[in-house]
Amino acid sequence: MKKTWFNYLLALALIGLLAACASPAAEAPAAEAPASEASAADESAPETSSASAEDAEGESVADDDSAAMGSTASMDAVECAHDLTGEEIVMYQQAGREGPLASILGQGFALATEDVISYINDNGGVCGATMALDFCETNYNPEMEVTCYEGFRAADPKPVVLFTYGSGATIALKDRVVEDEIVNLAAGLNAEAFYNPADGYTFGSGPIYSDQFAGFIQFLSENWADIKPEGASDEIIVGVIGWASAYGGGATTPEAIAYAESLGVTVLPLEEQAISPDADVSGSVQTLALNGANVIYSQALSFGTAQVIGTVRALGLWDSVVVGTVNWGFNTDVLNILGDNIAIADGTYGMFPYAWWSDTDLEGVQIAMELFESAGHPESERATTYLTTVSAFLMMDHVMEATLNEYGPDGLTGANVKATMESMGTVTGAGVLRLDTADGSRATHSSQVRQWEWNGESMDYTVVQDFFRLPDTRE
């Protein structure tokens, strides 16, 4: 009886399996796309391109950068020369929204994409064409990233823009997108994947990780006397705890370490952290402390950064070290994970190459706030993810309109989108994101440094260093 029952169950499962797998890779309905943190569209090319002529010597260019980021150019700055009403332009997106690593992007990812695509379509679309989204789940598994990509590239018409998340995807697809001439707007900002090959198609909204780390070193070097822990020596010794992946190792490139050494800053060997919500970093923290680290830099995000902060606090080392983190680690989801213990993150520094919700003078922030509040999303999702996703899609809307104007409806190809972005020099996403495309660059080269400050009720994202030009650590 048990065997018969099991046989029937097995047969049903087999039929279901065949039925489910007969369809192509998952296709999401239009406007169901998580926010891409990569790629900021140049919303007002004529105004922002002048700001791209920054000081190449690395001096602070806060005014120029602030002007670029603070552009309040109208969303309708790009006048469409063609009317594509009735057409559809599909944006392709692959990310891990399921599985143990789903919390990395969280629900804000999906919510923001849905909201901004609806907003774009309600405001004329892409020169009249409806923006749609095709999403593929990857679980951040490289095999699934490749599978999803192969599914996308077989589409007709060929994809123009692809959004990916995770350094694994950036690395796995870096050569493929060049062959297929598809612009990859990547959130995985690994230097090797970005600039190898040199004429690649991978773009990022934030600075590559090695630039960010070098910039943090520069900030420490210039402000050490003011921020060093009590009793700390004048020598800056930095310990990096990074995920055991290309992302975690993305900061401590030879170029970044050489830059640190040129400033007299010592960088200890990288301590690896398991990519797991219950990883233990106490050993790494203690090793760094024993080796004299007075700065701990977290090259992780989400639960990874939360683990470092919590462990440093728990070991009683918080007053002995300066804790900093990369841009993706300086996000609300880290605070959400800390929950009732949110206050322990007070004092953490973070690289911040984009605007924040408090920058309400920026049009992109205004739009994001309007979308967020009208949709009634939970406050826990008011994070970098939502903001930068909205900005990224607004940016791509205008990049594509600029491409259409330049090359015509039949010229909307990945190669032409890339050429358009490169010709702009600086591309911003409604003032929130910024992408520098001059001099062969395909990522941002400036950033703020912010610090979490607990005000008793919530965490403020206080600017401690306004936008400055980051060291160029490209190979």
Partner: protein, 354 residues
Amino acid sequence: MTIRTAGDFDRHYEQDMRILRKPQQAVLAVLAIIAILIAPRFNQSYWAPTLNQIAYTIIALQGLNILTGLAGQISLGQASFMLVGGYSSALMSTHWGLPIVLTIPLAALTTGTIGLIFGLPSLRVKGFYLAMATLAAQFIIPWATRNLWKPILGGTNGAIDVPSPEMFGIAWKEPMNFFIIAFVVLIITTILTNNITRTRLGRAFVAVRDNDLAAELLGVNLYGYKLRAFFIAAALAGVAGALKAHYQRGVGTEFGYGLQDSIFFLGMLVIGGMGTRLGPFLGAITIVLLDDVAIWMGELLAHVFPDQAAQLLTSFRPIFFGLVLILFLIFEPRGLAHRWGQFLAAWRLRPFAR
């Protein structure tokens, strides 16, 4: 259990030893091969990458089946041996310019040798303790690729580029074309592993698995055969890793090869049928396709229960696979291969089967 219809008997020893005993079976096999090569072209964007993944996964499982299923030595390091094979093939292609037809067998030899090293503890320990020893491989090898010989192995980037095969002017980087290579290699490894199970070597493995003391008393060199099993398993993992590396055009810890993959391989073997010829095939196909089913079900549940969407999306997949494994362990511990054998037997014995 092999059941033949009345009147179907072998007339000589060679016929009994053949894998394809009758002409009809050979014709069916050829037709099946043609169908497998042609059918995916109807939905290339999904089936081509999926079949490539299934092919090299089966090869890795065939190796694990030899080691764990036949010889009874548990290994938690199969994914790390794939990593060795991938790197070997990649470096030989890149630095020596060798074609894939040479790099794959050389990668197999290299990985088999590495596998021998991690098989050395089998002299002294077995069972759970041997599993811990192979677990060492799973940690040491990925660590070594990230921290040693960084200019060659990629360092903390976690990956190096691997060139696509270049032969006969065909664009092998296209998934459907690459599948031809993977399928040919799969056929070769299937013939090899099937022959292992039918030879003295395979019988010695089974003897070691079933009762190593009795096997030793009967003259089976335990240590020697255990090392052979480790070598073969690692070599096949090396073949699988080489195929995976050339297909993905990259190799390194950034492309997986972690402990989770090794555990999944064991799970696939349990579900497919440990120690059986069909086990690797059924296990790999089931789990790879179930992955897509899990994604689809997770999204469906998230739509049905929007308030718990975040938790469902995060936790559903591992729970789903755990549940599948538990159900198999409870109701069919001998795997799908055994269940298939029962179906076949019931069909042949009809209407007397019950």
